[in-house]
């Protein structure tokens, strides 16, 4: 009792202090900050003059990195300028899936959005793609299910999930209260499964869209067979399109020879956007080298190791489809985000990197905003597609040009 009383009095004192002395304290603090600023600025300038500043890693520093000689934190003016930048993007122009910013979290790495709790402010994300959801509950693959590989990780979760009805019941009300759009990742064993899940999600408050997972490499049936075949991809996309009016994303697999016909087929079948890419099929060996390490033998490779593959596929797909592309694969920094955008992605998903740095997706949003301000852009649209080959006007009259 005594201790509790003490705490109360201490809080009272603090409260009294805060209310009574707030004005003089403020007046004191402001000049101090200014002196520090002016002390830092010359150093900053000289450092930049010969080498340019190294890319900053942390969020607050990134926000401060506005090009102008400003230290520590953005002032009110810069903050207003930052707020004026419109990072929002439209992923489904016909149906409406507006994301507050282009940094999404990838399916399977963020659970249902609630797991990271107070560590991550989910409301500041562009969108959440929830764990792959199937019609019936799935127990997933035998353990072990994850292992680290150079610059990446292998996982073979095997779509463990409680089934679409349980997901709707448990998380729907939570998502409804969020302003961040939640996109439900949908998997299935047959076209009928996909259609039924989509039908049940249709009209559920809190579900902003569907991401069709036709590319999971870790399950026997219903995994890859839809993503590696153009006609199957077209059929499943079209069937889901008929079943629901929700914005529809389709997630491509990199485990194919040429992704472009598949992407085209998906676009023609009525998808609103394309997500590229899912994991690459891989394998790890146990420590004693007597068997495969993962319980499921094969796993999906993700992380920085697959970024070049993901960039290549985004680059290829961007040249054959006109619907928005969401880039995913090894995003760990603002530079990666800009790379994906340059290759034609309007948004990116962060996946594996969340495990090491849960705050990264939110921070990338801040960094992207600061980058736009630094470049004098009012939105991030001009960053998209800058690395794509320049379109020439009419086809060459000198003969057909063949590019494999």
């Amino acid at each position: 009792m005594k201790a509790r009383k003490k705490v109360v009095t201490a809080a009272d004192v603090r409260l009294a202090k805060a209310t009574g002395q707030s004005k003089p304290a403020k007046a004191k603090r402001t000049p101090t900050v200014r002196t520090i600023k002016s002390a830092i600025v010359p150093v900053d300038r000289s450092a930049r003059s010969f080498s340019g500043r190294p890319r900053v890693e942390t969020g607050s520093a990134a926000v401060a990195d506005l090009g102008a000689p400003l230290a520590a934190r953005p002032t009110l003016v810069e903050r207003e300028a930052l707020d004026r930048i419109d990072l929002s993007i439209e992923l489904a122009p016909q149906r409406g899936l507006r994301l507050p910013n282009p940094i999404m979290v990838a399916s399977g790495t963020f659970g249902y959005g609630v797991e990271y709790g107070e560590v991550v402010d989910v409301q500041r994300l562009g969108a959440i793609c929830c764990k792959g959801t199937t019609l019936r509950p799935r127990a997933g693959n035998p353990p072990p299910r994850v292992t680290e590989t150079p610059g990446g990780m292998l996982n073979s979760i095997g779509l463990q999930n409680p089934g679409v009805d349980a997901v709707i019941e448990k998380y729907g009300p939570v998502w409804q209260g969020w302003k961040v759009p939640v996109i439900v990742n949908v998997a299935g064993e047959s076209i009928e499964d996909y259609v039924e899940v989509a039908r049940r999600l249709d009209g559920v408050p809190g579900v902003a869209g569907i991401e069709l997972n036709i590319s999971c490499p870790n399950v026997g049936k219903g995994g890859l067979q839809f993503a590696i075949d153009r006609d199957a991809a077209r059929a499943v996309t079209a069937a889901v399109r008929r079943a629901t009016d929700l914005p529809l994303l389709v997630k491509l697999s990199p485990n194919v020879a040429d992704v472009r016909p598949i992407a085209k087929a998906i676009e023609e079948a009525g998808a609103d956007a394309i997500t590229a890419i899912n994991t690459l099929s891989g394998l790890a060996v146990s420590a004693d080298r007597t068997r495969a390490f993962l319980g499921n033998t094969y796993g999906g490779l993700s992380g920085p190791a697959i970024k070049p593959v993901a960039l290549r596929i985004v680059y290829e797909v961007a040249q054959v489809v006109s619907i928005p592309i969401v880039g995913i694969g090894g995003v760990t920094s603002l530079a990666d985000v800009l790379d994906f955008m340059a290759c034609g992605a309007v948004a990116v998903q962060v996946g594996t990197a969340i495990f090491a740095d849960p705050e990264l997706p939110v921070r990338l949003g801040d960094e992207l905003r600061a980058e736009c301000l630094r470049r004098g852009l009012s939105s991030c649209a001009p960053l998209v597609g800058t690395a794509l080959p320049k379109r020439t006007g009419a086809p060459s009259a000198k003969g057909a040009e063949y590019r494999p």
Binding site: G108, T109, F110, G111, Y112, E115, Y116, G117, E118, V119, K131, A139, G140, P142, P143, P144, R145, V146, T147, E148, P150, G151, G152, M153, N155, I157, Q160, G303, P304, T332, T352, A353, I354, F355, A356, D357, P358, E359
Partner: protein
């Protein structure tokens, strides 16, 4: 306490056994909020190569000084990187995570069983039990005398019994062979170590009542109410609780990577565990 991201400053790093280290970190947020059995997820330095955090049991936590220690073995690049950390370095830790050991308030005699590095999993429970005036026996198994956890690192009040595979110190054989001598004395047992050891202990615990001839007389504890498997109340009543290990991704329950097979389906080591009542685990699935 809920998990949080903590910047922990390395205060001391020392090698206590060949390849085994204890590192002390100043992290008051972790020290005050954590309980025995919980763990932290430590971010390694070089993200370009090592993309996952590393989970470690909280070895000890000192409320007064705010010092948390981790006990680990160098098994790969992540732990090797950790041994190269210097005093004053700040490490990014996510924690405390997972559910702790649940000690029945009526238990007076606690049997703690550790195999090798499993000591890291139960070490803090010894502190808590001693603090609560419970009697503690620690059974410890290792390959040989050179791998035996130093008794000086345990609280003085603890009875420490050692078994080695080669007989170079203490009992010659597995630590599980010592359990029968103590199972009548113990009110509850808590174990951490290799999965085969835990599997053997679970089998021993399942047959304990019959061996001891415990009669079920009078009212049942809790008036015959059956607590759901995995609930805190059910765990508190369980004779054996085990701390399990699994390769881990997110450590917050999002990725479903760290599962072990339970009797009712997959269980996440990071969320439902790492401590489980022995009855929750489908031991036949564990090699």
């Amino acid at each position: 306490m809920t998990m949080r991201l903590v910047s922990a400053e390395l205060v001391e790093s020392r090698q206590i056994l060949p390849g085994q280290w204890i590192q002390s970190f100043h992290a008051p947020e972790l020290a005050t909020g954590s309980r025995a059995g919980q763990f932290v997820h430590v971010r390694t330095g070089d993200y370009s190569g090592l993309v996952l955090r590393r989970p470690f049991s909280i070895n000890t936590a000192d409320l007064v000084t705010g010092i948390v220690t981790l006990h680990f073995r160098t098994v790969g690049r992540g732990t090797e990187w950790l041994t190269r950390a210097r005093e004053g370095d700040r490490l990014d830790m996510l924690g405390p995570l997972g559910r702790p050991f649940e000690v029945d308030p009526r238990s007076r005699h606690l049997l703690l069983i550790a195999g090798g590095l499993g000591m890291a999993g139960i070490r803090m429970l010894a502190d808590e039990a001693v603090h609560d005036d419970r009697q503690v026996v620690v059974l410890f198994g290792a390959q040989s005398a050179s791998h035996v956890y130093p008794s000086s690192l345990l609280p003085d009040e603890v009875e420490y019994v050692v078994a080695t595979d080669d007989g170079s110190l203490g009992h010659h054989g597995f630590v599980t062979e010592l359990v029968t001598e103590y199972e009548a004395w113990a009110d509850q047992a808590f174990a951490c170590g290799p999965h085969p050891m835990l599997k053997r202990l679970a089998a021993l615990a399942a047959g304990r009542r019959d061996r001891l001839g415990v009669a079920k007389l009078g009212r049942k504890r809790g008036g015959g109410k059956v607590d759901p498997l995995g609930s805190t109340a059910a765990r508190r009543k369980a004779f054996l609780q085990v701390s399990m290990e699994q390769t881990m991704g997110c450590a917050v329950g999002a990725c479903l990577g760290c599962t072990v097979i339970g009797v009712d389906g997959p269980l996440r080591v990071c969320r439902e565990g790492p401590v489980f009542a022995a009855e929750e685990i489908a031991w036949e699935s564990i090699a």
